[in-house]
Amino acid sequence: MIYLAFGALAIGIVNGLGQALNYSRVDILQYFPGMRDYYQGLTVHGVVNAIVFTFAFANGFLSLTTSRALARPLNGSLLWAVFATMVLGFLLAAYAMGTGQASVLYTFYPPLMAHWSYYLGLALLVVSTWLTGINLLLGLRGWRKDNPGVRIPLMAFVSVATYAMWALASIGIAVSVVGLLLPWSLGLIEHSDPLLSRTLFWYSGHPIVYFWLLPAYVSWYMMVPKHAGGTLFSDQLTRIVFVLFLLLSIPTGFHHQYTDPGISTGMKAIHATLTFGVFFPSMVTAFSVMYALEIGGRRRGGTGLTNWFFKLDWKNPALVAQLLAMLTFTLGGITGLINASYNLNAAIHNTAWIPGHFHMTVGSAVTLSFMGIAYWLIPYLTKRELVGKGMALLSSWIYTAGVLVMARGLISGGLDGMPRRTLIMEAPYEKATWELAGMLTGLGGTLMFMGGGAFFAVLIGTVLFGKKSEGPVDIPFTETHHPPASSGWEVKLDRFRYWIIATIILILVAYLPFLIQYLPGNFTSTPYQFF
């Protein structure tokens, strides 16, 4: 699964280079085999990076963390079923995209209609996450039976919380894709309802960013303190953070639809408030992870207010990639808060600012973290030593420099009205200020491509030529300074059932008023295939 994840990332990064250079008006897309146009490449970029790469990595990585934390194997046939579902889903979607029958981008808003295999492929990719979720729950249930009254090990708790959140969050996209769009693309339903499908998309489309992010958080909480030689401070606070993500990730989707007609401003304001709420656990994370790093830095002889930071092990590729991921995520978080800001959003909605923002979140905080994880995970899985440690370190620095330069370009262009998802180099309109923005975007994208290339060189080198070694016998994860309480209110944190019920109530508060007003919907749109 991890290999599938990085295979998808490779395809995505190659396409990403084409998109970044579009903004600096350099056309390399014409040299890509089988690519008809920019929008086809952009669809591939979005699907393989944001869906295949992230889903495959989460499925593999969190199955491993859960199984290790519970000290019991997960169901083997279910794991193979996950892998088979993902491969099949990927092939179906790849067929549709590769033959140019699905250039509708990864948001696939109707009434633009893709080939049915695209929707079916995406649905199967979501099913693979459900199968993984079921596997984690079965593992947890078995463990509970054998360990009555014992607190769930923290690493299993955070992994299961991630999948519990996504299980509820993916309902929207499942209803839209399986219930509406797939039958529509097969000709069984004549019309689509663009606003309803868009709303269902964003019901899943915001929490999906946490499904991308939380596996990285699992690593930041559980593994980064270990790499840094520190300890995670509070078991209880970590559990609270993941419970908050479970509760607040989903009822926030309208902040992607502030500029949509047909949704009342009152509901948009409620979602804005809840979105600010879900920012809180990320602030707590900044505190907890920094504190764990500080413990590590001081143990290595760091003193004073900031000196401990420089005493960290800057020679460990797994740690450095994730430290840099946190750095870009600070900027990603701040720009995200601006996006979520009710009316401030009007200044930047659908401009190049948005990809500027999310390349500092999913495009680096998540991607760099997953690369950092790979730097210990691949040696662990293959029992080979990492080849090219220097290059591994360098790749993270180049990638980070690239993402910062690119984001600077996209963000400044966006503030000047440069639209996202647009073949700028062939647009009949332009503004003088977009020139510098476009150059920076192209330059940054090229650096990211090079950093990604160095990463893959290390990865392939390790798998093929790495020196056989006993290697790490266990995965690196931290103890907590304050262990879990065995009595008192904290024990209730482990009752997922309650949190899931509370989450469902919040979802109903956030979406029921809209659905009551809006249903049975406005199914009047005929399909279009403008590609």
Binding site: T259, P261, G262, F280, A347, A427, K431, F530
Partner: protein, 155 residues
């Protein structure tokens, strides 16, 4: 200071900062009148061009210093393509699409809204400075998406 105390201070500061931001946002929205698109009614996408007010797209004066811009988006152009309004006037955009989802961003201003088939979009703004702004379709709407634009001229 014990660590638990640092923890509490940090958490309260985080929560406090977010609350201040929220208050500022809603003050600007409700006291200063910066509004988002609301529910304005539905329309059949196939009948847009024969349904008032979209049967006569264009700019019209509807009151003292008040103007309405009736605009249709369809792949891949805006009708009308050029919009002229006086500086300082209250301008209301009433808009929809005949086919797929489009976007309308009058760059350099906060006029930024989506056109969704079946829905009517409405947003009011005032342009204080004379000048020219691009009207950009900023939602992917097919192979010719980048060709779709217009111009707003504030006189």
């Amino acid at each position: 200071m014990t660590t638990e105390k640092i923890e509490k201070v940090f958490l309260s500061l985080s929560a406090g900062m977010l609350l201040v931001f929220l208050v500022a946002l809603f003050y600007s929205a409700f006291a200063m009148g910066i509004h988002l698109p609301d529910r304005e009614g539905e329309i059949h996408p196939a009948e847009v061009r024969s349904t008032p007010p979209f049967d006569e797209p264009g700019v019209r004066e509807v009151g003292p210093n008040q103007y309405e811009v009736v605009m249709i988006g369809s792949a891949w152009s805006f009708t009308p393509r050029e919009v002229r309004v006086p500086a300082g006037a209250e301008v209301t955009f009433i808009s929809t699409t005949t086919d797929v989802i489009h976007g309308v961003h009058v760059e350099g201003t906060r006029v930024n809204f989506m056109l969704i088939p079946g829905q009517i979009s409405k947003i009011t703004s005032t342009f204080r400075e004379p000048g020219e702004h691009l009207i950009i379709c900023h939602e992917f709407c097919g192979a010719g998406h980048h060709l779709m634009y217009g111009v707003l001229i504030v006189e």
